[in-house]
């Protein structure tokens, strides 16, 4: 394939980051693939509006049809018309986009001349329409001749310039005219107006490695930054920050620019600050490599090549929270430092590195590793996909990977498609847990294909999570993401789940993926109601099961703001939930009361509902009595504080809970219980412990804080008894199921066991709050009886609440509703 990399040649020419990126792309295609890349450049002078518009015209008329495809990175190069155009956006003409506000110009043209008025009308009536270009350029030429370049309508940047250039970009970047959109950073992808609203650009970072340089005598003895000396780079802020950096460490600043005299004057009192002026590229690596750290604190930078250059030398970078691109690579304390954008905060970060050169070195190394993950290979991959390979190479890879055969296999007509607003394979909230386990168990009976709508910025992908369980991941478009952010900001709480479906047309890729997946499938499961609009818009002829995780209307009524927007959102939720019940062939709920509530609201009969409660995973083995005794003794030893008074604890009881009001209330009861049973050590595990930091509680009630799942499992098995002293809350208590599943004896309030079919005295002991300590004492006094109950409870839970069992129940529901011809 012959590929043209098309770009403007800046007048006057400077060899900046953009030029290095272009050369890199050309070289990567030529070196890493069998394709041939050529660079096409036209000089572009950006100093006046006539020069800029002239360059838009030149590119728009350029014929590059002797290439199979073109790649453009910048205005006005994307004006070229071509059958296969890729935009890998570095940035637009920022002065008429995100930095326009700094020019203090209006958004509309005040009293436009007739010429300009006509052009504005042409633009307004022809958005994204290439056919209007000849008329536009003709009118522009006439207007310029009639009014002269200095006419107030042509202020640059100014309102007419802004509208005209945005209109021109809209034609060059129109969805029909572009095959592929890429963005050099998330920061760029998210900026207002940079991309058409229906487009989700793929993020591809361009490498910025410099050749490695050796350490010299000065290693670690100075701070270094390289920068154009202009406003957005905020060197004034850096100079101010140096007041907060003690000691005699130098700050060396390489680069030239319009602000140099002002900056030098500002730094006059600090002899440690040196301006190196113009610095040859070949000297940079050594300057980076030997610096203690590189402060780089621009305002909303596109990408920040400086970051990657410093990374390549293993030097730590200090940036600011609002610096844009650099914050995509620098995580505070991990791959560099990130300061609030004020002199004291930046100075403090720099001072911390001066005081601890080892830390600087460590952060630099971590940054280096981060930088090494940005490769030209990935750029080529993003630009060309599989086409980077010859057919022979591709065949060889397919044979190795086996992915090709996977895709070629005919898909089962038995399969079920699940629509979710989250990836099911991230352990997270309860919904994710249910999805992963329940649909995972369903996959043992029928193939399951999940189509997950995920956050903007993720890569689309297809994942095989388990045999017969796959997940298609579709990220929200930038426009969809922004809509969610906007409404969440207005509502002062996240409403992204609601927006997922209500604005799904902003992510057409999701609609396409569902249409593709559902074609020929036997059923669709709607996980939560929010994606119902997908089913409605696609008008799919596939039976739908609505799997209701909650009664959303009552859940949201409690949390949405008391405002017009809150009311409107709530009305939407009520409506979508009702439509989901009505539209579905069957609705599954987590509990009987949920089914009753949904039935009443939608006026649908009870036969429409099947309760599939939340379940638990049943561990294969239980702990032996000896191991429980030995481990229990060690837990008691570990958490028994030597200095405390009273008897040494003989028993171990546990409670697990997040920082959630019903759990905090349960701990209040535990405080009373602990006081009555000084010989029992109660470990109250989870984030809720933070809430009791300053409370005086009995010595035998200890808060170990958050623990890993691994530790939690081990502790739960080692305990003599697990406590479920719940007095408040809604929904079923999943942790009770978990306690019972591992075979640990349980004391629970009857309230805490709601919705779970356990019998007092047979599977566990119930205790009302006022009798909790007394019942616990009885249980501890009769370990044999407790053991018998625990075994019965484990058997019950395995029978009714194992995910495997529940997955089969869901499979039965699917079979019920699938038309006979698809059941073959």
């Amino acid at each position: 394939m012959k590929i043209a990399v098309v770009a403007p040649s800046p007048v006057p020419f400077t060899r900046g980051g953009a030029e290095r990126a272009l050369w890199g792309i050309q070289q990567a295609i030529n070196d890493l693939t069998h394709h041939e890349a050529e660079m096409i450049k036209i000089p572009v002078d950006e100093s006046t509006l006539p020069a800029v518009i002239n360059s838009y015209q030149l590119f728009s008329e350029l014929d590059l049809d002797h290439f199979d495809r073109i790649i453009t990175t910048k205005y006005p190069a994307w004006m070229v018309d071509h059958d296969h155009k890729t935009i890998l956006m570095m940035h637009v003409l920022r002065g008429v986009y995100d930095t326009y506000q700094y020019h203090h110009q209006p958004l509309t043209v005040p009293n436009p001349s007739d010429h300009v008025f006509a052009m504005l009308h042409l633009m307004r009536t022809n958005p994204g329409h290439r056919g209007a270009l000849p008329e536009f350029f003709e009118r522009w030429t006439n207007a310029l001749a009639a009014l002269g370049p200095d006419h107030p309508d042509f202020v640059f940047p100014g309102p007419f310039a802004r509208l005209a250039i945005r209109w021109l970009d809209g034609i060059g970047m129109a969805p029909g005219a572009v095959k592929q959109y890429l963005s050099q950073s998330k920061t760029v992808a998210l900026r207002e107006g940079y991309f058409p609203t229906t487009v989700t650009p793929k993020i591809v970072n361009l490498p910025g490695h410099l050749p490695p340089a050796p350490h010299n005598d000065e290693y670690g003895s100075y701070l270094f930054t390289a920068s154009r000396l202009d406003g957005p780079k905020r060197l004034d802020l850096l100079i101010d920050a140096m007041q907060y950096v003690p000691g005699d460490i130098e700050l060396r600043i390489a680069g030239t620019g319009s602000l140099r005299p002002q900056l030098e004057a500002q730094a006059a009192d600090d002899p440690r600050i040196r301006f190196l002026g113009f610095t040859r590229n070949d000297l940079l690596p050594e300057l980076y490599a030997n610096a203690l750290a590189v402060p780089f604190i621009p305002a909303d930078e596109d990408l920040g090549l400086i970051t990657l250059e410093a990374f390549s030398q293993g030097t730590a970078v200090v940036t600011c929270t609002d610096s844009g691109g650099p914050t995509e690579f620098i995580k505070d304390g991990a791959t560099g430092l990130v300061a609030e954008p004020n002199p004291a905060a930046i100075g403090a970060k720099l001072a911390s590195l001066v005081a601890d050169p080892d830390l600087a070195h460590q952060l630099g190394q971590a940054g280096k590793e981060r930088g090494e993950r940005i490769t030209w290979d990935l750029v080529v991959e993003a630009l060309l996909g599989d086409e980077r390979f010859t057919p022979e190479e591709l065949a060889a890879r397919g044979a190795e990977g086996g992915d090709a055969t996977e895709a070629a296999r005919p898909r089962s007509r038995r399969r079920v498609v699940v629509l979710t607003t989250f990836p099911i394979n991230d352990p997270g909230h309860g919904g994710q847990l249910r999805a992963r386990n329940l649909y995972g168990a369903l996959a043992a009976v029928r193939p399951v294909e999940v189509v997950a709508l995920v956050d903007f910025g993720h890569q689309p992908s297809v994942q095989n999570l388990a045999p017969h369980l796959s997940q298609v991941v579709i990220p929200r478009s930038a426009a969809h993401h922004l809509k969610g952010e906007e409404l969440s900001a207005e509502a002062r709480m996240p409403v992204t789940d609601v927006v997922a479906g209500s604005h799904i047309e902003l992510t057409p890729a999701y609609l396409e993926a569902v249409a593709e997946a559902a074609d020929g499938a036997s059923a669709i499961i709607l996980a939560e109601p929010y994606l119902l609009p997908v089913v409605e818009q696609l008008d799919l002829d596939v039976p739908v099961i609505y799997d209701a995780y909650n009664v959303e209307a009552s859940l949201k009524a409690g949390v949405f703001p008391d405002s017009a927007l809150g009311a409107e959102l709530l009305a939407q939720v009520v409506a979508v939930e009702r439509r989901a019940v009505v539209r579905s062939a069957r609705t599954t709920t987590c509990s009987e009361p949920d089914a009753v509530a949904l039935a009443a609201d939608a006026e649908v009969g009870p036969e429409h509902f099947t309760v599939i409660p939340n379940g638990t995973t049943i561990p294969a083995e239980v702990i032996s009595a000896e191991d429980r005794a030995a481990q229990g003794a060690r837990w008691r030893r570990r958490y028994w504080t030597a200095g405390s008074t009273g008897a040494e604890p003989e028993h171990l009881a546990v409670f697990f809970g997040s920082w959630h009001p019903p759990n905090l209330d349960a701990v209040e009861l535990l405080i009373e219980v602990a006081a009555e049973l000084p010989e029992t050590l109660i470990l109250s595990v989870g984030f809720h412990g933070q809430a009791f930091l300053n409370r005086i509680v009995p010595d035998n009630l200890v808060f170990p804080g958050m623990v890993t799942t691994r530790t939690k499992d081990r502790l739960l098995r080692a305990a003599d008894v697990a406590l479920n002293p719940m007095r408040l809350g809604s929904g079923t208590n999943l942790k009770l199921l978990e306690y019972l599943a591992v075979g640990t004896p349980v004391v629970s309030t009857p309230f805490g066991a709601r919705g779970i079919d356990v019998v007092d005295g047979e599977h566990l002991r119930f205790a009302e709050p006022d009798r909790f300590a007394a019942v616990l004492a009885e249980v501890l006094a009769d370990p044999a009886g407790a053991q018998v109950r625990a075994e019965a409870a484990r058997a019950l839970v395995s029978e009714r609440y194992s995910w495997d069992r529940l997955g089969r129940s869901l499979a039965d529901v699917v079979s019920d509703i699938v038309p006979a011809e698809a059941r073959r």
Partner: protein, 398 residues
């Protein structure tokens, strides 16, 4: 041979004071007590400039083989030492054996290990900037060392493992094993038997001491507190591993050697302030505190790979503590006998955790192994060591 003898102890100085420095000091004291004149000749192994025997080496070349050139520089310094005025020279750490003298006794604990017994694991861990360069340098080092080692009259090998290395790499059998004792004169509390406090591991956080294996093992036993005493270049790495295992569900038993100890230990992610787990990084502690920690410990873990000797194991046994060592622990496995003075287990987090669990569950077993250890440590006295030393001297003088 007239007595008293004039004896030179040759000591490369690395700027640290560890077990070996103590052993050399002890031997000097014994020689003086026996009436000899003793002098110590030290060579600073941290050369101020990139030069070997006066020849300046360009910095990038020097950095490309960071073990090789400093070693050559040190060797050259020992080679140049004029020791003709002494009746007997005693070389200690590598490369002090490069000194030339007709009566040369070598108290030998190791070669320059990254070019000998640690070469493969050193390369596997990724320390060498260039593997080929390292292997070539190794060949050169071994060729240069061979004639020097051959002119040594007698070797007092620090352990059976060390004596075996002399056979394997140099074909030398003129060696006897020398068992250094605990340093006499230190105030030590009486042996206490297994305690109920934190499991103890004493050792520098350096490659290949493998303190990381103890960290990983500790996270398989979240109910057991483990204290690591010692500092070192890999402390941040071990700390980051602890933080990772304390805050994720990564399975410690599934970690590879490369994820735990077999790596350069560089680039550890920063650990947030206030992080706590069942692993305590105690750093450097006072002798009194160390004694208390020994007294409280139910058992002691010494997970090092191919240790030259294993003083920490003797120290633990002297305190009545069962010791957990690994099957590839070198000298450690000569000191600790499985199910007699401790447990010898596979070098994995799971095996070490199982051993800790066994010793903290079965207190009778722990007490029995501890008591045996006290007796074993008593055999390793400086009186016995002095006899082994004098026998070595006679071999050279004969």
């Amino acid at each position: 041979m007239p007595r008293p003898l004039r004896i030179a102890f040759l000591k490369p100085e690395f700027g640290v004071t560890g077990g070996l420095e103590a052993v050399v000091g002890q031997l000097e004291a014994i020689a003086r007590a026996d009436g000899h004149e003793v002098a110590r000749l030290g060579v600073d192994m941290r050369p101020p400039r990139a030069a070997v025997a006066g020849l300046e080496i360009p910095r990038p070349v020097w950095d490309a083989a960071p073990e090789y050139f400093p070693y050559l520089a040190g060797r050259a310094e020992f080679d140049r030492l004029d020791v003709r005025r002494f009746d007997l020279v005693v070389s200690t750490q590598s490369p002090s054996f490069a000194v030339r003298h007709p009566r040369h006794l070598s108290v030998f604990y190791h070669h320059h290990r990254v070019y000998y017994d640690l070469e493969e694991v050193y390369l596997r861990a990724g320390f060498a900037p260039d593997e080929t360069v390292h292997r070539e340098a190794g060949k050169l080092v071994r060729e240069l060392d061979q004639p020097c080692l051959e002119q040594v009259g007698w070797f007092l090998a620090g352990s059976g493992a060390v004596a075996e290395r002399l056979v394997r790499f140099n074909g030398l059998t003129n060696a006897s094993v020398f068992h250094a004792g605990l340093i006499v004169g230190d105030e030590r509390p009486p042996a206490t038997g297994p305690g109920t406090g934190a499991v103890l591991s004493v050792g520098r956080h350096e490659f290949p001491k493998r303190t990381e294996l103890v960290v990983a093992a500790a996270h398989l036993l979240p109910e057991v507190e483990v204290a690591l005493v010692g500092t070192g270049g890999r402390e941040a790495w071990a700390n980051a591993l602890d933080h990772r295992l304390a805050t994720s569900d990564d399975d410690p038993a599934a970690l590879t050697d490369e994820e735990t100890w077999c790596n350069t230990g560089q680039g550890a992610p920063a650990v947030p302030d206030g992080h706590r787990s069942n692993v305590e990084f105690a750093g450097r502690v006072s002798d009194a505190e160390l004694a208390q920690r020994f007294a409280d410990a139910p058992c002691v873990v010494a997970p090092a790979f191919q240790e030259d000797y294993g003083l920490t194991a003797i120290e633990a046994m002297a305190q009545g503590k069962p010791v957990i060592v690994c099957t590839d622990g070198g000298g450690l496995t000569e000191l600790v006998e499985h199910e007699r003075t401790g447990l010898v287990v596979e070098p994995t987090p799971a095996a070490i955790a199982a051993a800790i669990e066994r010793l903290t569950s079965d207190r009778d077993l722990a007490a029995e192994l501890g008591a045996n250890g006290v007796r074993r440590a008593a055999e390793l006295s400086w009186e016995a060591a002095a006899d082994e030393w004098r026998a070595g001297m006679e071999q050279v003088l004969a």
